[in-house]
Structure formats: C-alpha cells, structure tokens
Amino acid sequence: MGEVSGLAIDDNESMRLSLHKVVVSIAILGVAAAIAGLGTFATFTSTTSATHTIASGTLTLTAPFSRLGTGASPIAAGDTMQRAIDLSYSGSISFSAVTLTTSASPSSLLDTDTTDGLHIVIDKCSVAWTESGPPYTYTCGGSTSSVLASSAIIGSNVALSNLTLTAGSLDHLRATITFPSTAGNTLQNQSSTLTYAFTGTQRAGQSQ
C-alpha cells in the first residue's frame, strides 16, 4: 500500500510536473505569439504618390520656300544672282544659332578661287521678299538686315546673324551671289554645283 501510496504520490507529482510543463509551454507560446505580434504589427506603412508628365520638344529647321536650287548659266564676270529662301523654325524648341556650310560637287574655279570666284551675301527682310523674274530679283517691303557679309562662296559652319531663331517663326532670306568683275579668262567655261546646308543649334538649357 505504502508502495501503492508511494506510487500514487509519484503519479501526482508526475502529473503536476506535466501540468507545469504544459503551463510553461503555453506561457512560452503566449509570449512567442506576443513577440510575433510585435514583429508583425509594430510598423504601419503608408504610401503616397504624385504623377508628373514630361515631354521633350522638337528642333526643326526647314525651308518651306527656296529658289537656291535654281541655277544660272551662262554667267559673266560682274553678274549677280539673287535667290530667296525662307528658313522656318517649325519645332517647339527655339534655336541659339544657325550656321551655313556650302560645298561644291562638281567643283571648279568658280568656287575654289576665293578671290575672283563666286561670293555670297545674305540679307533678311522683315516680311516676305517681293519676287520678280526670272531672272529673279527681290525687293523688301519691310526692313532689311544683314545676315552674312560678303564671303567666298565656299565656307564651313559660317555664323549667320540677325536671325529670329524663335520656335514657330520664319526668316525671309535673300542670297546674292556675285561673280566678281575682276575675274579673268581662266574662269571662263567653268561649272560648279553648289549645296547650301543650314544647320541649327538648340537654345541653351533652361529651367522649365
């Protein structure tokens, strides 16, 4: 009996120990759950957003009207040829400068002789040039300004002055090509085909 009693006592102690373990385990679980709760819910997040549309512009230089492609033949020393061209700044970005590069192919003394060969002058009219001819000549009904002083016909990236350059605007130009009266017989029977390339550069960067 004592043994039985002893056994009974041992069982009770064993039961208490088991219960104790269960309680401790549950408590640990509770604390673990609480800690898990800390990790999961201690931080709230919030987001907010703003939208922003950005569009780049266009830089477009065109010649909606040009007589530069009209040749002249035959020409003699002392002759002048006038040709009109409109430069249009039709993009959405203004220009800071426009340069002119001229080349010749085929080439001849007309373009390689920088003294007695062809020379070019460019003027601008505040309104469209009034054309007559052919042979073409032009008069300005508004005010004129000099875009390019007399220069040898061939040039590279020659700066042009007094242009409007503003996006959406137009410049009315007149090129006067002169065959100098000083040209000698060596310039007889020469032929050159000229190409005029106008190159524009965008305005400087600015705050938008």
């Binding site: 939208t51 922003h52 950005i54 266009t58």
Partner: protein, 183 residues
C-alpha cells in the same frame, strides 16, 4: 486547479497579443463597437505635378512637393520609387532624365516666374543625381503637423541626342513611410 492555470496562461497570452496589435493604433469608432486600427497616413501635395513641355537637352525641370502626415504619430519616409506609366527614351537610364531630391526646412521660393527654386533656410540633399527610374532609400522623419518641403530636380543631359526628341513620359513618384519602431 491545473486547468485554471492553463486557461489563465492562455488568456494572458491572448491579451498580450491583442495589446500588441492595438498599441500603435488609433481606436476609431470604438463607441459604436467597431475597432479599427488606423496608423498615420503620408500625404503629398500636389498629386499631379505640373507638366513640363518642349524639354530640350540641358534643361532643368524643378518642381516642389510637400509631404505631410495625417493622423496621430510620426512617420519615417523610407523610400522613393519612381516608375513610368508611360515610358519613352526620356527614362532611358543612360541618356535620359536624371533626378535629384532636396529638402528645405522652409518653403522653397521662386525668385522669378520661371520654375527655379531657392531655399532660404537649411537645405538637405536627400538623393544625389541619378537615373530617374528606380527605388531609392530615404530617411526622413515626419512628426505630426510637420511638413517636408521637397524639390524634385530633373535634368535632361546636354549630350542627349536627336533620338530623344518628341518623347513623352509620365512618371509616378511613390513615397513609402513607416511608423518608427520604438521597441
């Protein structure tokens, strides 16, 4: 007896969990029996940043925005993610727009009508200039009632070529904030 101990322990565990759940939250509408956990909200003004048109290489686009907190508690702005809902070459990481972010302790002022802003107080650089798209880490603490005056500065590199003409991108600036973990 043991059974009561077990129930008590379970109850304590559950109460602790609820306590943790609700500690950082505002209790809204509790009188009506509804329990709602609501943390502080991060707000930005304006949500539609003024559009920039006819941007050319070398241009700078400056826009100011304000971040603030609605509700109780403070927030730490931890990230800025910039995404494009309308992508174009403008968001190209090599030759496209580049973004930097600065904070002024007071309202940014524009001395002219152009979008160019000056800080007349303490200026802090939050993000160095880099490709516009992507997610970056921030660390910006906002207390209730406090406002963060930010300047977004975008630049189209001067070396950007003709391929970037006539492009349009719509950017989304998304700021993420979290309640500071005080434990």
């Amino acid at each position: 007896m043991a059974g009561k101990l077990v129930k008590s322990a379970v109850a304590v565990g559950c109460v602790a969990s609820f306590a943790v759940l609700l500690a950082p939250a505002d209790l809204a509408d509790a009188s009506a029996g509804r329990i709602q956990a609501e943390g502080p909200k991060l707000l930005v003004d304006p949500q539609n940043v003024l559009r920039a048109r006819a941007v050319a290489p070398g241009d700078r686009i400056e826009r100011t925005i304000v971040l603030r907190v609605r509700g109780r508690g403070e927030l730490r702005v931890v990230a800025l993610a910039v995404d494009a809902t309308q992508a174009s070459l403008l968001t190209d990481p090599r030759q496209g727009l580049r973004l930097s972010l600065e904070r002024c302790s007071r309202v940014w002022r524009s001395p002219t009508r152009a979008h160019s802003y000056r800080c007349r107080s303490t200026r802090t650089r939050l993000l160095a200039r880099g490709p516009v798209l992507g997610r970056r880490r921030l660390s910006l603490l906002l207390r209730p009632g406090e406002r963060a005056y930010l300047r977004l500065k975008l630049r189209l590199p001067a070396r950007a070529g003709n391929a970037l003409e006539h492009q349009t991108s719509t950017l989304v600036y998304q700021f993420t904030a979290a309640t500071p973990n005080e434990r």
